[in-house]
Symmetry: C2
Subunit: 350 residues, 2 copies
């Protein structure tokens, strides 16, 4: 029962996954914009680019040559932020200067040999092959006892720090649980102990009843704008079955995940008729870390655009120092994404 009109009034919402709040200012979407406008990438790319370090047959930074791969291609990042052979070490001076070494493996996954595609432009069958690679990479990385957490993600678009337009994602696997995972662990564990079911199962049931923030609802997955979304068009993908990580998905579920990814990203591209930038990634149970039954696999999409293909949301002063803030409501954003055509805007002009 709402005791205020959520579409009109400044309010905070609780992010049940992190336990943190965001500030919503619905009345503020009328604000005019005279600030920074991003450059539109023309996005006419060739199928093969001789200067791309991800294209088949090309040279990489370490001097090696990419194979003539036909589906996807995985390799260790030539500029890894984490290294496999870092030794254990730590510093602690008066509890004020506290540091610990961190060990890890960073990988890059080219999604397809085609330089000119993006996920929403790939066939479902080809996206399914990317899901297969995520699954097998997760399994093989988890076979290292010392790896505790595996972050699968994609930075799409130069506005999201992506330095090569060839469709690709990354995996950073490491020896400690990162901060966001610690927050989600605490929240999910508490709920599970109290309710004997996963937090996201409970949340999903409520959202499917409300139908206010749902974008896609198919046999195995739901894509929705979470009640507590911070980014204007932020979405959350939840598996209907409570699984702790990607290794548990059946062939059928993986195909459905591929379909969901395609359908969501096509809608994204259609909003502003542009290749929609985002950072996206899965959150799943840590590995080699005891009982993790309370974890429920999900995937976050954090897209920066707000008003157009060239005007983004700035998470700056107030947001960095105090609290994340948004203008358009989650409900309004869900409506906009849901109402997009499910055929890619480019497919008519091809």
């Amino acid at each position: 029962m709402l005791d205020f009109t959520i579409n009109d009034v400044p309010h905070t919402r609780l992010n049940i996954l992190t336990g943190e709040r965001i500030l919503v200012s619905p009345h503020r979407s009328k604000r005019p914009w005279q600030g920074q406008v991003e450059e539109l990438s023309l996005d006419k790319r060739p199928e093969y680019d001789p200067n791309c370090y991800l294209c088949p047959g090309n040279k990489r930074a370490d001097g090696s040559e990419n194979p003539y791969y036909k589906e996807s291609f995985v390799f260790v990042n030539d500029f890894s932020a984490l290294l496999k052979d870092t030794e254990e070490g730590n510093i602690n001076e008066e509890g004020l200067l506290v540091a610990e070494t961190e060990r890890g493996i960073c990988k890059v996954i080219a999604f397809t040999p085609r330089h000119d595609l993006t996920l929403p432009e790939m066939d479902v069958e080809d996206i399914k092959k990317v899901v297969d690679v995520w699954q097998s990479e997760f399994t093989s990385l988890a076979s290292n006892e010392w790896i505790k957490y595996i972050q699968i993600f994609e930075n799409k678009g130069s506005i999201m720090g992506c330095s090569n337009p060839h469709p690709h994602g990354q995996i950073w696997a490491e020896s400690k649980l990162p901060m966001e995972i610690l927050k989600e662990e605490k929240q999910q564990q508490e709920y599970f102990l109290k309710n004997k079911k996963s937090l996201l199962s409970g949340y999903l049931a409520l959202e499917l009843k409300k139908k206010e923030r749902i974008i896609i609802d198919n046999e195995h997955f739901v894509a929705l704008v979470p009640f507590w979304a911070a980014w204007p068009f932020e979405t959350l993908l939840i598996s209907k079955r409570h699984v702790t990580d990607i290794t548990e998905f059946s062939e059928e579920e993986k195909l459905d995940l591929a379909r969901t990814l395609q359908q969501l990203t096509i809608r994204y591209d259609n909003i502003f008729s542009t290749s929609f930038p985002y950072s996206a990634g899965m959150h799943q149970a840590p590995v080699n870390n005891g009982n993790q039954d309370f974890w429920h696999w999900h995937m976050h999409f954090y897209p920066p655009l707000l008003r157009s293909a060239t005007v983004k949301k700035f998470m700056v002063g107030y947001e960095m120092l105090a609290n994340p803030q948004r203008d358009i409501t989650a409900e309004k954003a869900a409506e906009i994404i849901r109402n997009q055509p499910t055929t890619h805007y480019k497919s008519n002009t091809k």
Copy 2:
């Protein structure tokens, strides 16, 4: 005592103010950059711009006219994210959809009538007048019983979402404590109870002994790169005296704060010979909220630039989903900032 070489090896560091960790990858600064390059603003602005809603005598969005002010000028934001008259209300469905209305006041402060200046180009005496306004605004906002926290901040540069180059800052005052303040409250309170002094007094003493991360050390203030800095050139300003908020500063301290701000921002501008963008703001004790003795006034500077005036650090995929990450170490960054001349690069070409 360090038991690993902090300048070479991937490691995490603890942010003692938030209790969260950041990932440092010192070896990664050699990574080449082929990604997004920001546009350089030419930054030749007139002293008065007839189209600027902050210049003296000009029209604002609400139809009113700015006074012909001679120092600084404060008004309620025409597009406030928080409103004064929001009524109390809350939603709670199964602990899963949780929201509460939020009340507040958003103000804008033009730092000077001169459209063409920025803080580092202003005289110390004029910056001191801005500090005076911050102090008096804090006092008058805090006189509202229902206001619990006052965030004073500045977004500088279009890359930081600033939509008007006229030098100005903002104040958002509100009825609840924002997330970052809750984190810093917990950490500072715990330390204070245990050590009978403020967390930042303890930290400052250790940093002044080490001298590895100090940039400015004058009578009343220290500017340093905190051990746990996440942004490449992030800095922290700490008052030597343990005061809980800006209202306690004497005339002499305010003048020294103005000097520190000028000296820090001149160095910033000199790093890449550009008007150095940042979001900056003070963290201070909540108001009308009981005993806050453990709070120690400080000011954060979060500048986005990394390699040049046009290449910034992207806090994206891994950072949003897992953990903030940096390449260059805090010690290296401190050295770079400290070694900048204290005369503004433009003053020679004027």
